[in-house]
Point group: C2
């Protein structure tokens, strides 16, 4: 079966202009790799993306964009104008990483593999947007749609999609974007059409504290917290719709010889399905209450018992883009035409925000392979054949959606 | 029954010089309270006692000491010479508190109560040593023994008695001190003759980490740590000999949406009895291993399992001073003669070090009442009658041990 999407993709791929763009991606691959290394080594923890954003703005200046700027939220945005009177589509990669200030970001190269925190999620995506712009310029491609290129802030964790929230809900392009593609992480074989919902909580466990020896026997909030985490670790969640939890960051206490008066942990709850997320959230609240009750019964509360403060630090809607819509069909066709076998999945990315507003939105890969995202051993492979084929598939997706002026 | 100790104490208390000293403690009580407030408000976390030590050195300069100095470890020491050829006894209070830099140390006064972190443990002790010196000077008392006054560092937590270790094992007074009294915390009704032993560990739980959603199902070191803490919370320990444990300080993790690759907790294990401490330590090691094994069985170890690093960060011997020795008998008699009903107990104080060296050593109170040590709600009561009676009892103890030249 050859459907409309496949025909559209085939016509683009057969054009001389696209072949020139593809050749440019291949010729410039070393530069793209260098851009990945340069950007990876500029720290960009969520809420501290300024330095990387400024560097990215400088790099983007030679790339044929108009209206290049850093918006009020910190996103770098620039417009590649189409032939006029077309729709506006947005393609994005995110500036921020999960790694706190002070993390060693030195890129280690082994063969064609690059190891560094954030190298694949999503620094490679940032470099690929620049590679696409150079390829489009070299091939003198004019699109029907205007394309807004965006390197955005706050995709990770507590950033809570603040960059996208601003772009779609407050900034100058509010209400104008009709389709959205985020280029996030290497894998071309997965197209995210579902936005994984998440709820994040920082739970602080408070108690009177006291001397570890002299006050032994009074409640210790660390025991209540540990019991809550241990209970969470034993919760069963469905494989489909995929539902997950994590106890991620913790801290508290004052001294080795003091029963702490305050300890806290940050928790991440996610699901493809809103109802599963709600169910998990209720179970989470209940197990915290149970753990606190156990500690308050196990030890003395003569100076006061363990109490909790639960603060919501993230709330992302679980929505999806219909897999039969044109955006998804074009992306699938373009990526499959380059030898990949894309499957649809749900994930938590910048696409969640347009999805939540009913705007067609997907996440595609940035090309190549990689792994261990969010760990200090994060890596990508920049082996040219697979990398360039992936980038070309992504560019074909963008052009199929934006349309080429012929 | 009137024993030698009671006779000695009675003779001192009946002397005109002692009555003058007592009157001076009473007259100068407001100044002593002001000294407590001043010193409390100078931060002195263990290992950061320099500022308070320098202030204390200045305050001590007008107090008739010779050889006043800050030693190589940071202890403030000064000698009050006796009549010559007598023994050397040391009286100490500790400079450091358990509260980290940045803790609000403002003293809040309600009636005769002072509230502030560290106010009773052991800032009051520091001020009482100065009050005693003024009283001895005002009464022109000469002692048989030389008395080394010491405001020492590193009594708390990870300080691990470093001030005392230096004084008794390395400093200029090494091998010269024949009896030791530390003045630590208000309560006059308890004389510590036993040194509680402690073992302290920082246990780090490492694992590969990963994306909280994408890598869901791989081992989370926080779950192993939480399970270990929860298991510890359920350990049974004897009331006598008193044996305690605490999970005190914790931290780790990088981001809300990352399974952590490293988390840690600091644990405090104590007992009056070395064999109970050893038993608790073995149980502690075993429960950590069990918790790690459970997590490595519960989730995927495809990138590696949870491993632990256990670092000993404190090790204090459990020893005691014989209750029939002259030091203990004199202290008991002097304190009882002032209307208190002292009982013997074990605790973990500066006295542990001389005890471990076979030098008679005790802890006595600094007078008055107090509570909630090692918590942010720590308080003392400086109501004059009880406070002055307590300080006088302490001074009588010191003079009974040092002997008055008549």
């Amino acid at each position: 079966m050859t459907d409309h999407a496949e025909t559209t993709v085939r016509r683009i791929m057969d054009s001389a202009a696209f072949r020139t763009a593809h050749a440019t991606l291949a010729q410039e691959h070393d530069r793209t790799v260098q851009d990945i290394v340069t950007l990876t080594q500029i720290a960009a923890p969520s809420f501290q993306e300024e330095t990387r954003a400024a560097a990215y703005l400088e790099m983007a200046k030679t790339h044929g964009l108009t209206d290049l700027e850093i918006d009020a939220e910190g996103n770098v945005t620039g417009m590649r104008r189409g032939i006029g009177n077309g729709p506006l589509i947005c393609v994005a990669a995110h500036l921020d990483t999960v790694f706190p200030a002070g993390t060693d970001l030195t890129v280690r190269r082994e063969g064609t593999k690059l190891f560094a925190p954030g190298v694949g999620d999503d620094t490679r995506g940032l470099a690929v947007l620049l590679a696409w712009l150079r390829a489009l310029d070299a091939a003198a491609i004019r699109t029907r749609a205007d394309i807004l290129f965006c390197a955005d802030v706050g995709e990770e964790g507590q950033g809570d999609l603040r960059g996208m929230r601003h772009l779609f809900q407050h900034g100058r392009y509010k209400d104008r974007i009709s389709a959205f593609i985020t280029v996030d992480s290497p894998d071309m074989d997965r197209i995210a059409t579902g936005g994984v919902g998440s709820k994040r909580y920082r739970v602080t466990f408070n108690a009177p504290g006291g001397h570890s020896y002299g006050a032994f026997g009074v409640v210790n909030p660390m025991y209540a917290m540990a019991d809550a985490i241990a209970r969470l670790s034993r919760v069963t969640v469905p494989m489909r719709p995929k539902t997950t939890f994590s106890a991620s960051v913790t801290g508290g206490g004052t001294s080795i010889n003091a029963i702490p008066n305050s300890v806290w942990t940050e928790f991440d709850l996610r699901s493809e399905a809103p109802e599963e997320l709600d169910r998990l959230e209720q179970e989470f609240f209940a197990l915290i209450d149970a753990a606190v009750a156990v500690e308050n019964a196990a030890r003395s509360t003569r100076n006061g018992g363990v109490t909790t403060e639960t603060v919501k630090i993230g709330d992302r809607p679980a929505r999806h883009t219909d897999e039969s819509c044109e955006l998804v069909r074009l992306a699938h066709a373009a990526i499959a035409a380059h030898g990949f076998t894309p499957v649809f999945e749900a994930s938590s990315t910048d696409a969640n925000i347009p999805m939540s507003l009913g705007i067609p939105a997907i996440k595609i890969g940035s090309g190549g392979t990689g792994g261990r995202a969010h760990s200090l051993e994060e890596w990508i492979d920049v082996e040219p054949e697979v990398s360039i084929r992936g980038m070309t598939a992504g560019l074909a997706t963008l052009l199929a959606v934006a349309g080429i002026s012929e």
